[in-house]
Each structure stands twice: as C-alpha cells, then as structure tokens.
Symmetry: C2
Subunit: 209 residues, 2 copies
Amino acid sequence: MRALIPYKKENAKSRLSPILTRMEREQFVELMLRDVVCSLREAGLNDIDILTTSEYGSLAGLNVNFVIDSNDLNESINKYLEKIDQPVLIIMADLPLARPEQVKSIISSKEDVVIVPGKGGGTNVLFVKNPSKFHVRYYGMSFCNHCAIAKDMHQSLKIYDSFLLSTDIDEPHDIVEILLHGHGLSLEYAKEKFELESGRARVKLASIQ
Amino acid sequence: MRALIPYKKENAKSRLSPILTRMEREQFVELMLRDVVCSLREAGLNDIDILTTSEYGSLAGLNVNFVIDSNDLNESINKYLEKIDQPVLIIMADLPLARPEQVKSIISSKEDVVIVPGKGGGTNVLFVKNPSKFHVRYYGMSFCNHCAIAKDMHQSLKIYDSFLLSTDIDEPHDIVEILLHGHGLSLEYAKEKFELESGRARVKLASIQ
C-alpha cells in the first residue's frame, strides 16, 4: 500500500493572501504537508509519494519519494494509477487535521473505494484498492465524479464521514479549525500568528500584533 | 434516554434571507426538524422533546413533546438538565444531514459526554449521560466551553468526528451540502429551489428560475 500526496508550494494557497504573505504561505503549506505525512506514518503508511511539478530539497528530511510531473493534476494522478499495482491512498496536503485513527480506519475498509468528501463537493481523501479499475476527476464536483466512476467501474464504495478530513485549509476562517482541532507544526504556526475572537456567533480569526 | 431539540421557527435562519423569504425559511426549518426527528427515531430514540418558546400546532403529527420556555437557550437547557435523570442527546434542529448510523454510534459511546463539533467552534450535538453532572454554555466558543465543563465535572469525554453532523445549515453555501449529501424532506425542498453550479473550485448554489 502507498500514499500519494499532491503538493504545490510556489505561491500556494492564494486565498490566504489577505492574512499571510507569499513566503508565509509557502512555509505554512510545507508545515501542513509535514503534519499529514506524520499522521500517515503513525497510521503505518510508510511508502509515501509526493506528486509535484518540481523536487523540493527542503523536504529531504521527510524521507518521501517524489513523483515529478508537470501535467494537470488529473492527468498526472491517472498516469500514476496506471503504473502502480497496489492500493493507494490519495490525500491532499492541506489537511493538517488528519489523524492516524481516521487514516487507519479508511485504509482498513473492506470496500474497493473510499471517498472522504470535502466541503462544497470536493474529494479530500480517496482510497483506491484497485488502481487499474479507477481514475480520478478532481476539480468542481469531484465528489460526485468519483462516486460515479466507482459505480461505472463496479467498485464497491464507502463514503467516509469526517469533519477533520473535510476541513481543507483554503480560506482564513479555515485556520480557526486548526486553532480549535489542530496539532503538530501547523497548530504551532497558527498559534504564533493568530488567535480566536469569540462572540455569540461562530468564532473568528484575529491576527496577533 | 431522551433527545432534546432546541427549535425556533419565527423568522428563523435570517442568514438565508438573501435566497429564501421569511415564509420559505420558516417552512424550511420545519422540514429540517422533521428530518432530524426521523433520523433519531430510526436510531431508536423515541422520547423526543422540542425545546421552544411557543407550541407549534403544525408539528402535532410528529408525536413529540414540547418544552416551552421563554428563557435564553442556555438557561432553558440547564433547567431541563436539572429536572431529568436519564441520558440526553441534545441535537440542533438545523442538522438535516444527521443519519441514524451517527446517532446510534454517539448514544452507544462508553464516555459520559460526547461532543460533536460544528464549524467555527460550535457544538452541534451533545450527548450527556449524567445530566446532574453537566451544564451547557452555547454560543461563541461553545465547543471549548463544553470540553472544559466535562473536565471540570470529571466526566469522561469523547469528541465525535462527523462531517455530516458538523454541517449546520446557516448560510446559502451550506445548502450545497444538502444537495450533495442530504436526504428526506430538506433535500426535496432544496432540489425544488436550487441547483448546483460547478466550475473548477467548490460547487456553488444557483436558484432555479
């Protein structure tokens, strides 16, 4: 079994630019990636491939493999799936709330395909037991795409229900969830820069001056 | 074991007013409540109390009890907890994605208190085995409040991780999740009024003309 983590560092997470500079965002995505890798390892998943357009020397300490591909996300993942002949967990790098418990539970599912939906129709984690019988179609309503693909390919399907894994960090208010439910390097980083502001409604993010 | 559902109909869900009239919102919250009640019953929870400021005749068919209390949410729930001597599941009425599986899993937990966090520090579901040893403090960072109260009262605590139960329907984009992951009356209603618009990013809501 392997894990595949699509990862982009250059000018990543542009929707966080109102609160983090480009350099900070690039630092932050690396810390989130490190937290994800750490949770995978704690769940016993040690063969980890980072899918990216260029190798990042600074990640050397992570002891991961790089799959360098300059194609579109879907094309490069589908090329990857064609080549491997073992189960694969495709997990996004911006899911620092991922915990080993959830990862273990997903990779031990009896179903052929497990989909963890993100907010707004996304696919945050995808577990594929038979890569030759699946292909991906990210972007837009990818959750629906992946359900349909599993059905078309006669693969049994499980939808895995997780708030932590549904929380990809895209916008400033998502960092609230790191401060509330996070751990590791991304929590440390978020705590250095932000604090929670509480009123009657949902908690808000405030910058630490 | 009982369930308690705080419910407000008059001018409910004002943040949905850009897309639903007052009358539509009042109709919609009742349908969401009915879906929640249905999931509770399917999970075997039949003693259901609706906490509200005034009795709603139109809910008669639901076969629920009314607890009428004009006090603040926290005050009225704490008064309720003082009176009962059995485990209680406090679940919000705006959680139409709730499914019997999750409810069953929560009420069969071995811990004294189970908290299901909502987005932004909220508490969407709260299971309290020993009502005399707990009190609530909703609003603001209620998730943190409830964790602290469980600790102070020496009650063992479980945080239950669920995307479906973290999704309270407050804002227009939350209705996207009903269209994607919903069921029952609220899904039917949402499908009558809205459709999904898909691009490369998260799915958006569009009104059906």
